[in-house]
Every structure is written in structure tokens, then in C-alpha cells.
């Protein structure tokens, strides 16, 4: 029998993904891009909200979208119908996008400098929380049909998100969803999170969300020179 030996590692299991995420993040910063990672359970209204947002902003901002789903290119097709470039990433058995997939998607999408890149993650309130993509912010979308307890049941995701959109508020009159309690639950897991009430269907609250988005885009692109300066001499 040969002798065993011990190798002390302390190796971060997510280290590889974090490395790719840092590389993405550095590239986004260099290109003055504002990048959001939209996370939610399936059917909260991510694609609908994106389409409405793109329709409203496509004439004032450079926009691009990465769509993550296990199967089908249906959501990317819905995005492209607005005239905004989109790329579908199918994760197959995978339950989340990772930073490596996003890096490749960005390579083929070639978003413009100073643009806004919106990444719709796979509908799943668990797994995407651990996988940074290099984004500026995670935005969690919680629709009012899902129940006000979700922030407490999936605290990792809500703790990782800087903005929470409570979507489908047009349905509130038909439900016994307690929106104050939902907001209190978000604050319990994440006191710093901004919470906005929106309806992608009726347009209610969409202005505040788009203001937030435009503000972020302006800050991100502020580092870019206004016009490419001509080299002296």
C-alpha cells in the first residue's frame, strides 16, 4: 500500500466562474457598459418587462439582450421583434447562466461602447444567485402572484439583488397579496435593496424603473470620452 498525503487547498469552488466574471466586468467597465442580470422564478414577466423597456428606450439608448433558457429560442425571438439585438443561450441541463457563457455571448453580440446589456437569466430563484456574470447589479423580479413570502424562502437571491421589481401590480385587486409585507420581507433579507412596484402590462411604475436604468447607463458611460479625440501631431 502506498502512503497517502495531504494537499491543503482552500480552493474556492466558484473560483473559475468568478475569474470569468471579473474578466467580463473589466471589459464592461472599459467599454462604458451598464450590465444587469435579471433573475426570478419562471414566468414572473422578465421577457415581457424587457420588451416593454426596450420599446420605450431603444431610440435613446444602445441596447442588447442575452436570453438564458434551458431550451428554445422563443424569448430571444420576442426580444428581436422589438428591433433590439439579442442572443439566446441555451443552458441545456444547466439551471443558470455562468460567466463563461456570457463572455462568449458578448463576443458574438458585440454590443456598442456605452450600451446597456440586459441579461435574462434562467427562471430559477436558487442557482443564479451563486454565479456572478460580471454584471453591475442583479435585479430580482417578483410577481405578485407568487406570494409575499418568497424573499424569505429564497433569501440568497434577494440578498444578492440591488433592485427588486414587484411585477404584475395590475393584478393586485384580484389577489390577497400583501405588497407591504412583501416589501418588508425584501428589507429583512436585504436592507439596502431598492424596491419598485411595476406592471409590464399596464405600464404602471415603469417610468421609475427606466429612470433608474438610464441613471445607471449614464454613470457607466461617463468614463468614455465624449468623442474620440484626434491624436495630436
Amino acid at each position: 500500500m502506498s502512503q497517502t498525503r495531504l494537499i491543503q487547498l482552500e480552493a474556492d469552488i466558484l473560483g473559475k466562474n468568478n475569474g470569468y466574471a471579473q474578466a467580463n466586468c473589466a471589459q464592461f467597465a472599459r467599454d462604458g457598459m451598464f450590465v444587469l442580470n435579471l433573475v426570478s422564478s419562471p414566468g414572473s414577466g422578465k421577457t415581457t418587462l424587457l420588451c416593454k423597456t426596450l420599446e420605450a428606450l431603444k431610440d435613446t439608448l444602445d441596447l442588447a439582450v442575452i436570453e438564458g433558457d434551458q431550451q428554445t429560442s422563443a424569448d430571444a425571438d420576442r426580444i428581436r421583434a422589438t428591433g433590439v439585438p439579442a442572443i439566446q443561450v441555451n443552458t441545456g441541463k444547466g439551471c443558470h447562466l455562468d460567466a463563461h457563457m456570457v463572455g462568449h455571448a458578448v463576443e458574438s453580440l458585440k454590443p456598442a461602447k456605452g450600451s446597456v446589456l440586459l441579461i435574462e437569466n434562467v427562471g430559477n430563484l436558487v442557482c443564479p444567485a451563486g454565479f456572478d456574470l460580471g454584471e453591475a447589479h442583479k435585479v430580482a423580479i417578483l410577481s405578485v402572484t407568487e406570494g409575499e413570502d418568497k424573499p424569505l424562502k429564497y433569501p440568497d437571491m434577494f440578498a444578492a439583488s440591488d433592485l427588486v421589481l414587484l411585477n404584475k401590480v395590475d393584478l393586485l385587486p384580484h389577489l390577497d397579496f400583501d405588497i407591504e409585507e412583501a416589501e418588508a420581507n425584501v428589507r429583512r433579507v436585504n436592507p439596502r435593496a431598492r424596491v419598485l412596484r411595476v406592471s409590464a402590462r399596464s405600464g404602471e411604475g415603469m417610468e421609475a424603473w427606466m429612470q433608474w436604468l438610464k441613471g445607471g447607463a449614464m454613470m457607466a458611460s461617463a468614463t468614455l470620452p465624449a468623442t474620440a479625440p484626434l491624436a495630436a501631431e
Partner: protein, 113 residues
Amino acid sequence: MHEMALCESIRQIIEEQAGAQGFTRVERVALDVGAFSGVEVEALRFGFDVVMRGSLAETARLEIHQSKGQGWCLPCAREVEIAQRYDACPHCGSYQMQVTGGENLSIRELEVF
């Protein structure tokens, strides 16, 4: 669900280490798993057996060291142990808590041939 992906990462790290440190078989893999790492330990064990098949860690024993969550209570100005992200401070009942520990997920050590 993503425990499979985590096991793939573990396998990759082991294979890189095998090249760098020159070993051919892994006897034991010890992991540190924080309470807020988002990992389901049973799913991790299941994924480990599936993913390590055919690798040099095929017969390895998986040892999981779970650690408690830690938070910094602002009113008390000290570190406290918490079971959930949204737990109140066990000393003063405040929710003004900043999570400071328990998000770690790493390979502590490998016992190899």
C-alpha cells in the same frame, strides 16, 4: 440543481491539482460549506458520486464541513451566529444585521495517493 455544476468544478480543480502536484488517486475530498452558500448537502453528495465516476476521485470519500452563518449586529457592534440571513440578533433582537460569514464554498484539502 446547480450542485451538479459545482461538482464539475470540484472535478476540474482536482484534475488541475493532479497535474500540478502529481497524484493519481484521491482518497478523501474535504469541503467547507457555509450555511449561506446556497448548497444542499444531500444534492452535493449525490452529484459528487455521479460526477466523479471515471475520474481519479471515483472512490474518494466526501467529507463536508458545514459552518454556521455569521452576522455583524450594528446595535451590539459585534459578531453573532445566525441560522438564516434574515434572523434577528440573538442578543438584542435587532434586524440590522450584515452577513459576514457562511457564504464560503471551498475545497479545504485532498488526501491523495
